[in-house]
């Protein structure tokens, strides 16, 4: 989806320049904070009601689909919750950027979510999905 979005954003910038004011291109627009933003938790609300799936998903109405996004730059701040390996990898990356990538921004703590939905017109299921909701992010 990210690749697709970037491709479309670039395509739109080529054809309709006015659109770029809404969605700065991550590589060409110097005013964008895209590449410099540090690893942090982001929120994307998924509404089952908006998706018109509420006839079979009874609850919840939707959920905050947290995800981790951003760069792991040195020095790694305390709130980024970096592993020791990530710190070492960052240093090695600084010495040899072409060979060793930066650490990944990824979930460090996950929690379950319960979803209630119809299995068919007679039976209903309330299922707990473990490790589904991102609670915090860090550099790995």
């Amino acid at each position: 989806m990210t690749r697709e979005t970037q491709r479309r954003t670039k395509k739109r910038a080529d054809t309709t320049p006015a659109d770029t004011s809404y969605y700065p291109h991550p590589f060409t627009d110097s005013s964008a904070h895209w590449s410099s933003r540090s690893c942090q938790i982001q929120t994307l609300y998924v509404s089952f009601r908006d998706l018109e799936w509420h006839d079979w998903i009874i609850a919840p109405n939707g959920y905050d689909a947290f995800y981790c996004s951003g760069e792991c730059n040195f020095p790694l701040n305390a709130h980024m919750n970096a592993t020791n390996h990530a710190i070492v990898q960052t240093l090695v990356h600084l010495m040899n950027p072409s060979q060793v990538p930066k650490p990944c921004c990824a979930p460090t703590k996950l929690s379950p979510i319960s979803v209630l939905y119809f299995l068919d017109e007679s039976n209903v299921i309330l299922k707990k999905y473990k490790n589904m909701v991102v609670k915090s992010c860090g550099c790995h």
């Binding site: 209630l116 007679s122 039976n123 209903v124």
Partner: protein, 239 residues
Amino acid sequence: GLYVDNGVDRTEMARALTRNERREVEHEILSLLGLSSRPSRAPPGSAAPQFLLDVYKSLLDAPRGDLNLSGRDLNAINESDVIMSFASRSDAHQSGLRHERGRRLWFDVSEVPAGERIVSAELRLFRSEGSVPQRARLSVYQLVADESGDKDLVLVDSISVGPAGGWLVLNVTDPLTSWVAFPDSNLGLYLSVHLPDKPAHAILPEDIGIVTSKRLDTSRQPFMVAFFQSSGRHTTHSR
């Protein structure tokens, strides 16, 4: 839609998904939930979905309404990874069995996920308030077939019913365990009601106000609820 970070602290929609993309995302979510297709919904206000909705709210520490949960229920809820409710199917006819005027209940348990451990299962029956102000003995039996094909009844649980109305709960863990292990053995449950002064004479469940048909009131339809612990193995339908 497809979303992009706006460079500061928010995510904004870049464009809406096409119909095909929506269908693809829907299939992804159905696959995650372990469903092969989008399920059809039950009639609104049915008892079984409402019960699980109350359980769901109790998990969120919201008011429990008339859930009437016992300590055993709360333990089962806390221990469970999956809770399923099964509405009784009055249209399920078995060869060689009479309908028995509401005394036989049958549940389709074929959707129980493989590899889930059954913590407990209970049958929930609604009794109308003030129907008959006397005590009765309500027993639930498992219908079984012997080697020669003859049908027999095995006592599963029995409770004393007072004059108060509300939901009656019977433990049906053993029948569910056998139905899941041997699906062909699922012939259903049989209800038996006796008055204390006439122990040899069985009466119909509806005679003491027990609702056995969804035609009367879907919000009081009999249902079975089962609590499962996940084995950790995830089974999803292949697409």
